[in-house]
């Protein structure tokens, strides 16, 4: 593809941004005096900052590039990843789960599992999570460096080293606070950097009406009904009627329930931001305040992809073609940046793009060093040391986490299959996790054995299902069917993944109940106080004005989400 040329002003903007990122770390370094400061920001973050960091940490490589690509490939249906696959779960975690996470004073999600169940359940979650964060951070780094190489002609190694050093420096200096502050800075940069692109793109295609008209051509060219690229729900009654190849039940249950709740409610990467909040109310409001901008993000990240495919199909080849003749969707957003933005704003847009990758990396690294130090080192390797010792270990873990991410980034360049395989494995582990949390938090009879073996059963069920099915046109192997027999063929890979998640969740849910009933309860009601719904005092928010109460906020957020779904039905 044609490379984007940067001018002096663009480099100036990039350098100023890096100076601010490092400056924030430097300014915060004197506040890090204990491990609590380093890993939990001393629980001192106001709700609005924690809320913006909550979405920014999730804004990794997958979001800006991936959602833009999906917008081009699937159109408006990509919004389900927000309005079905994120907002309801964010409201749930804020209103129902935060009281246990924050109230139990657990310092991490695995530590909650230890308090609620036992050491083996914590260990299982801590180890898989630690490995997963390192690889996600490595994939972020790899994707960023590859993109900069392709779009700007930068040296791959230099990009990896530069991004690793910057993220390392600001986390090492200021710990979680530094990561959170920078995530908020990145949030504003991403919004203000991409908005002009969206506005120019919309102006070019003739507004929403012009865009839908062009997208109708895209849809009919691909053999779907007009509107398949610009409606979110209209074509979901059958999997063959929409470009995603999913039907509404698989989408709502698989994405909207299992995958979404599994991610937003149990992934320490995001939950850590809320745990750092300065009060229980602030912790509960964190995901709710995050949901407000989150529901508008489709306009920022999906729309550029949709505009790109509309221009590609009607104006002749905007997107570069891959070897198989289909457009390279992953380049939709970078191509749009180069297409519309002149030198100056181009620097701002590219800085925003780099910021999104770095916030994803930093989120993974801060989650990794906490889980490593508290849940693996302190509980299994060297318990009973001074706080100063664990602070040192946290610093060392940050360096180690970054080095391991760099190694993972290089592993991705050499063995693409290994990365795919690991991601698949993590999917198997994560899909059932929400069942464990749901039962643990709402049913006091759930036992440690039930939780642990239920999780294993769910993971196994996921692997078994994946091994016996295939998606249309895929070759048996990593994409499924590795057990030799193909019992069912799904219309798309996405449908296959949604159903793997549904089956893993159901298996874990039933197995956990069955095993819990067969095993003896080890934790008394007293030990479970603050960890289980029935044994925790209700949060009363009567002292707060009505508009500040989490429940009111939750209702407002859900109401607005429904309105958005109806508008773009």
């Amino acid at each position: 593809m044609e490379r984007i040329q940067l001018g002096g002003i663009d480099y100036t903007i990039l350098i100023i941004y890096f100076a601010f990122v490092l400056g924030i770390g430097w300014a915060l370094r004197r506040f890090v005096k204990s491990s609590d400061d380093f890993f939990l920001s001393g629980r001192s973050i106001p709700a609005w900052i924690a809320g913006l960091a909550f979405i920014s940490a999730n804004l990794g490589a997958q979001e800006v590039i991936g959602m833009g690509a999906s917008g081009a490939k699937y159109g408006m249906m990509t919004s389900h990843f927000y309005w079905v696959g994120a907002i309801p779960a964010m409201v749930f975690v804020g209103i129902f789960m935060m009281p246990f996470y924050y109230g139990s004073r657990a310092r991490s999600v695995p530590e909650y599992l230890k308090l609620r169940f036992d050491e083996k359940t914590r260990g299982f979650n801590a180890i898989t999570f630690a490995v997963m964060t390192v690889f996600s951070s490595g994939i972020s780094m790899y994707a960023l460096a590859k993109l900069l190489e392709l779009v700007l002609g930068w040296n791959f190694h230099a990009s990896v080293v530069l991004s690793a050093l910057i993220v390392l420096a600001y986390i090492f200096l200021g710990g979680l606070t530094s990561a959170i502050y920078n995530e908020v800075l990145q949030f504003f940069l991403i919004v203000l950097g991409f908005l002009p692109l969206v506005l120019l793109g919309l102006k070019d295609v003739g507004g929403w009406a012009g865009l839908t008209a062009k997208l109708d051509t895209v849809a009919t060219n691909a053999g779907f009904a007009p509107g398949a690229w610009s409606d979110s729900w209209h074509h979901l009654d059958s999997a063959t009627a929409n470009p995603m190849g999913v039907e509404w039940f698989g989408m709502v249950m698989g994405l909207g329930f299992v995958l979404s709740f599994g991610y937003w409610c149990t992934d320490f990467l995001v939950v850590q931001r809320a745990m750092a909040a300065n009060s229980m109310t602030a912790a509960r409001r964190t995901p709710l305040l995050a949901a407000l901008p989150k529901m508008l993000f489709p306009a920022l990240v999906i729309l550029p992809g949709m505009i790109a495919i509309a221009l590609h199909a009607t104006g002749g080849g905007l997107l570069p073609l891959g070897s198989d003749g289909t457009p390279n969707y992953n380049l939709a957003v970078p191509v749009m940046l180069g297409h519309y933005l002149p030198s100056g704003l181009l620097g701002l847009g590219l800085t925003a793009l780099m910021a999104s990758f770095m916030s994803g990396m930093a989120g993974n690294v801060t989650a990794f060093n906490t889980v490593w130090t508290y849940d693996i080192y302190q509980s299994h390797i060297k318990p009973g040391q001074t706080d100063e010792h664990y602070l040192k270990v946290g610093h060392a873990a940050t360096v180690f986490g970054i080095l391991a991410s760099v190694a993972a980034a290089y592993a991705a360049t050499r063995f693409n299959n290994i990365m795919d395989m690991l991601q698949l494995l993590f999917a198997f582990v994560n899909a059932p996790l929400f069942a464990t949390f749901l039962l643990g938090m709402f049913w006091r009879r759930t036992t440690g054995h039930g939780a642990f073996f239920g999780l294993l059963t769910g993971t196994l069920a996921a692997a078994l299902h994946h091994g016996l099915v295939l998606s249309q046109g895929a070759v048996a192997g990593l994409k499924g069917g590795f057990l030799g027999v193909v019992l069912h063929t799904y219309p798309s890979e996405m449908a296959q993944n949604f159903w793997t998640a549904i089956i893993a969740w159901t298996a874990c849910f039933t197995a956990t109940i069955a095993i819990s009933l067969l095993t003896a309860r080890k934790k008394s009601d007293d030990e479970l106080r603050g960890l289980v719904y029935a044994l925790t005092p209700r949060q009363t928010d009567h002292d707060l004005p009505w508009y500040k109460r989490p429940a009111t906020l939750g209702v407002i957020v859900l109401g607005l989400t429904i309105v958005l779904n109806v508008i773009f039905w």
Binding site: I13, G23, F31, S44, V184, L185, F188, S343, G344
Partner: protein, 86 residues
């Protein structure tokens, strides 16, 4: 709060805004063909500048409002470590 986060946000966007506005004024009009003839650097620069200044305004206001309770940067207030450490 340890460091008023609105300060770096306000500063950074005010600088970006000023830079882009000036660049928008002095740059060659020909580069705006791709942005549909709109001088986006000038206009978006002004938007960023306004955003940055509003953020800085909040910082100034909260500093004026917190007289005795929390003096903004406590110069020699708490510093258990000798200055040599930093």
């Amino acid at each position: 709060m340890k460091l008023d986060l609105r300060l770096p946000i306000g500063l950074m966007f005010a600088i970006f805004g000023a830079l882009l506005t000036v660049y928008g004024v002095v740059s060659d009009r020909a580069i705006y063909v791709r942005s549909l003839g709109v001088n986006v650097n000038l206009w978006w620069g002004l938007v960023l500048l306004a955003f940055g200044l509003v953020m800085l305004g909040f910082v100034l206001r909260s500093r004026g409002q917190a007289p005795a309770g929390q003096p903004p940067p406590p110069p020699p207030a708490r510093g258990p470590r000798p200055p040599a450490a930093s």
